[in-house]
């Protein structure tokens, strides 16, 4: 195993860790809004770390440029999607969970 493989593996493992954390947050958090926090945040960095791992593993080529575009679009699309779901829930009248209430 070469050094570059180890670095790529570290990045991909970090990405996988954050994706799993996001899934755990989806199960543990008490209501809709807080669950969106878990998925929206952890998925962004998780996906990007996995893509960076792919870039390091692949080496410099034209595929790197495509992966950079992919990262850019994830950074733009992920917050917009999270915000759209959040706004839809807020406008339709879902009450946010307050500390001390039972989980939903």
């Amino acid at each position: 195993m070469q050094g570059i493989d180890i670095i790529a593996t570290v990045f991909m493992a970090g990405g996988a860790f954050f994706m799993i954390t996001g899934a755990a947050g989806l199960l543990r958090f008490p209501d809709f809004y807080t669950r969106l926090h878990a998925t929206g945040k952890c998925d962004t960095l998780g996906e990007v770390l996995i893509i960076v791992g792919c870039m390091i593993y692949q080496g410099w080529s034209f595929i790197t440029i495509k992966l950079i575009f992919l990262m850019l679009f994830i950074f733009i699309a992920n917050p917009v999607g999270t915000h759209a779901i959040m706004k839809a829930a807020y406008v339709s009248g879902l009450k946010p969970w307050k500390k001390g209430e039972a989980r939903r």
Partner: protein, 177 residues
Amino acid sequence: MVFKSKGEKAFSMIVTFCAMFLFWVLLSAWIVYIPQHYDLIEISKGIICALIVTLISHELLVSSRGEKVLLKTLRMIPYLFWELWQIVLATFDVAYRVIHPKMPIDPRIIEFETTLRSDFALTTLANSITLTPGTITILVKPETGKFWVHALAEKPADALLVDKTMQRKVAHVYMEE
């Protein structure tokens, strides 16, 4: 989008065409640069595709010829690096709250007003808020620059209400202080 003159329309079309063709070259460079495949047919395909996209959507990319676009772009670069670091912090923060056995969350909805008015500045701030520690934008009122934000705990809420680092940085980038 209303154009003031034919010159502005031509300008926006040329800029869009160049950007689209560059994008095509970057995505299909493996066709263009391999010696055996190098021929005009492949490149003319790219030019035709870029032309079609330009005709349909040239208003979108160059929406306005605002002042000091270059300066704003230059100011954007350090902001983007700061934002990237904030994203890393945000993810560690949320991951810590998820994994901690007691789940230290205290969600709340906060409201604040900003001095920003333009579409780009408001979109940048809303996206930045969603990407940074423990806060997600719910609603934005463009007329008064008012934001409704859902915060996961007290600390990230104070970062927006008391420190206002992010608002100041975005206002600096778009020069709308």
